[in-house]
């Protein structure tokens, strides 16, 4: 199964898994070799324009993180006032923003740990057991799909409804519960996509050689599905650190980074927001590249 996860901050995981199968069909597209007209440039030029369009706002964000502020208030202005490194030097000058950022990082780490473990176990169950061995599999798959496809505002509102009904105070705990709830399905889908080409005969060989279940898991299964788990973990981290809608409903007094930024749009964005945005972007891209490289070196 080839998948590209189309939600939030998806990491291009599964396309890596399909790369091997694409090599053989690479040359066999609808291109006819004798086509030599100028029209052959239309598609590539168009595609590069779309890519430029997708990257353009990110360039704007990075550019404006170097924009001088001329007015009294420290807000990013729509006009370009000149280059400065001031906001990088003073990155932690906005107390609310810095604490919101660290809250988001702590939340994302905790949510990643929980959802990666739980989601990987679910993916193992889904890949290995079918039919009569695993009754209720369809129900779980449908729940996962609904969880991914439902509008986020519904998930956030319904979680807040639950927390109000059981009288649970909103804060870090409710944020964590909610973030794990929307990450599990993504992690399971990601890990499952990377496990579908798994060669079971390796485990059988280990069993033939006298390895017990735990040794098989530790020495064979886990190293082989590791890239998938890593990709799932990156996905969970990205989903959590970027989430606004659900967090806005269940955050209460704790304010994660996206909620803080959304609140700041009412009064004006301090330039440090773009510094944080640039930093998160850089780290994310580096992780994605690392994930792709690990995927190359250890094909599952």
């Amino acid at each position: 199964m080839s998948t590209g996860l189309p939600h939030h901050q998806a990491i291009p995981v599964s396309p890596v898994a399909t790369a091997t199968s694409s090599v053989e069909t690479r040359a066999a597209g609808p291109a006819r070799p004798r086509r030599r007209r100028w029209t052959r440039f239309i598609l590539p030029v168009y595609s590069w324009l779309v890519i430029a369009y997708l990257i353009f706002p990110i360039g704007v964000m990075i550019l404006y993180s170097f924009n001088k502020v001329t007015a009294g208030l420290q807000q990013v202005s729509f006009a370009w006032n000149g280059f400065t490194l001031q906001w990088y030097k003073e990155w932690s000058n906005i107390p609310g923003l810095t604490s919101a950022f660290w809250l988001s990082v702590r939340l994302a780490i905790a949510s990643t740990v929980f959802s990666t473990v739980i989601g990987t176990l679910l993916a193992l169950a889904l890949v290995r057991y079918q039919g009569r061995r695993f009754r209720g599999k369809t129900l779980i798959e449908q729940t996962m799909f609904l969880n991914i496809a439902a509008p986020e505002v519904v998930l956030g509102a319904s979680l807040l409804g639950l927390f109000i009904t059981i009288n649970l105070a909103r804060g870090f705990v409710t944020l964590l519960l909610a973030h794990v709830a929307f990450s599990i399905a993504y992690v399971a889908v990601t890990v499952r996509a990377r496990m579908s080409g798994f060669d079971r005969s390796l485990e059988e060989a280990a069993a033939d050689l006298g390895a017990n279940s735990w040794v098989i898991f530790r020495k064979i299964t886990f190293p082989l599905i590791m890239p998938g788990i890593l990709a799932g973990a990156l996905m969970a981290f990205a989903l959590s650190i970027d989430d606004f809608v659900t967090s806005n409903f269940v955050s209460g007094s704790a304010t994660p980074f996206p909620v803080w930024v959304y609140g700041a749009t009412r009064i004006g964005i301090p330039p440090q927001v773009f510094v944080f945005g640039t930093a998160i972007f850089t780290v994310g891209i580096l992780c994605a590249i690392a994930s792709v490289i690990i995927g190359w070196r250890k094909p599952t």
Partner: protein, 304 residues
């Protein structure tokens, strides 16, 4: 980890195979138990709670809610906020259409001509996701602002009248939605086109199909399930989105997500907000079940 033994396996798997081991039968259930419980308690039960809340009557002063089976809540909320529902459907629909038209050619190009650089191009499609959703939308506010780097430059060059503006209109919201949700459309489309057996195309050409006929009668019909999946995966989240409208739109074109958020967080009208969320969820479910009914329930999961 338990291992299943293929029927044609002739080797000796040792003692572990002959002993009765309950773990072998319980394994799938134990593995899926934590995820199942988490999703049950923090996804399915909240949806039931939401439905129940929408039928309760709450005391605005104390916040205490009692079940009154107040079905009229749905009618009241819909008559109050049907404009916002229609606005949401219009914005999300227009944005989804733009996404489909813009991303089909690039998905097609990556699937057929991406070659070894497919992964690179897919990463490029996902690049926007590496910037926070809220920040991305704020940046569009900068780009579309009256004196910003695009409109300001065009105005200074005399290409646009000075009075021209796009921020705080519905078009800005549609532009923001189309940008933010484009990868949601492009990736399912890519999966669908990539999956086409290239030999079917060769066969079409062998039978003297022109490029146009091959596209219209082979490629397009084979990607229909992918197009529908892309439509759902873009339209449903865009329908509930309110960040784009709040940051880029004006005051007159409020979307339903804003109303739900305000009901829960500002006016504390839990039954009203729950009723509207339930309707929104019902619209999403209708789309998903419609898809499953026409194109089969298994297929949509393949596009995730």
């Amino acid at each position: 980890m338990e291992q299943t033994v293929p029927a044609d396996h002739t080797g000796n798997l040792g003692d572990s195979r002959r002993r009765f081991r309950p773990g072998k039968f319980l394994a799938p259930y134990l593995l899926s138990l934590p995820a199942g419980l988490w999703l049950l308690i923090l996804f399915l039960i909240p949806l039931v709670v939401m439905l129940s809340l929408s039928l309760q009557t709450c005391n605005p002063a104390t916040g205490a809610c009692v079940m009154t089976w107040h079905w009229a809540e749905f009618g009241q909320q819909l008559s109050l906020y049907h404009t916002q529902f229609i606005t949401s459907i219009w914005f999300a629909g227009a944005a989804t259409l733009i996404c489909l038209v813009v991303s089909f050619p690039i998905s097609y190009w990556i699937a057929f001509y991406g070659g070894r650089r497919k992964n690179f191009f897919l990463l490029m499609l996902l690049v926007p996701f590496f910037v926070s959703f809220v920040i991305r939308t704020v940046v569009w506010e900068f780009i579309l602002s009256d004196q910003g780097i695009v409109l300001g430059a065009l105005k200074n060059a005399g290409l646009l009248p000075q009075s021209f503006h796009i921020l705080a209109t519905g078009w800005a919201v549609i532009a923001g939605l189309a940008y933010n949700y484009l990868p949601f459309t492009a990736l399912p489309l890519y999966v669908a086109i990539e999956r086409i057996d290239k030999r079917v195309l060769d066969a079409a050409y062998d039978l003297y199909a022109t490029k146009r006929e091959a596209f219209l009668r082979v490629i397009l019909p084979l990607t229909i399930p992918g197009i529908f999946a892309a439509f759902l995966l873009t339209f449903i989240p865009a329908l509930g989105d309110y960040v784009n409208q709040q940051i880029l739109g004006g005051t007159g074109d409020t979307m339903i997500g804003t109303v739900i958020q305000n009901s829960f967080l500002t006016t504390l009208d839990y039954p009203g907000g729950s009723a509207l969320s339930t309707v929104l969820l019902a619209v999403a479910l209708l789309g998903i079940f419609g898809y499953a009914r026409i194109l089969g329930s298994r297929t949509i999961e393949e596009y995730l």
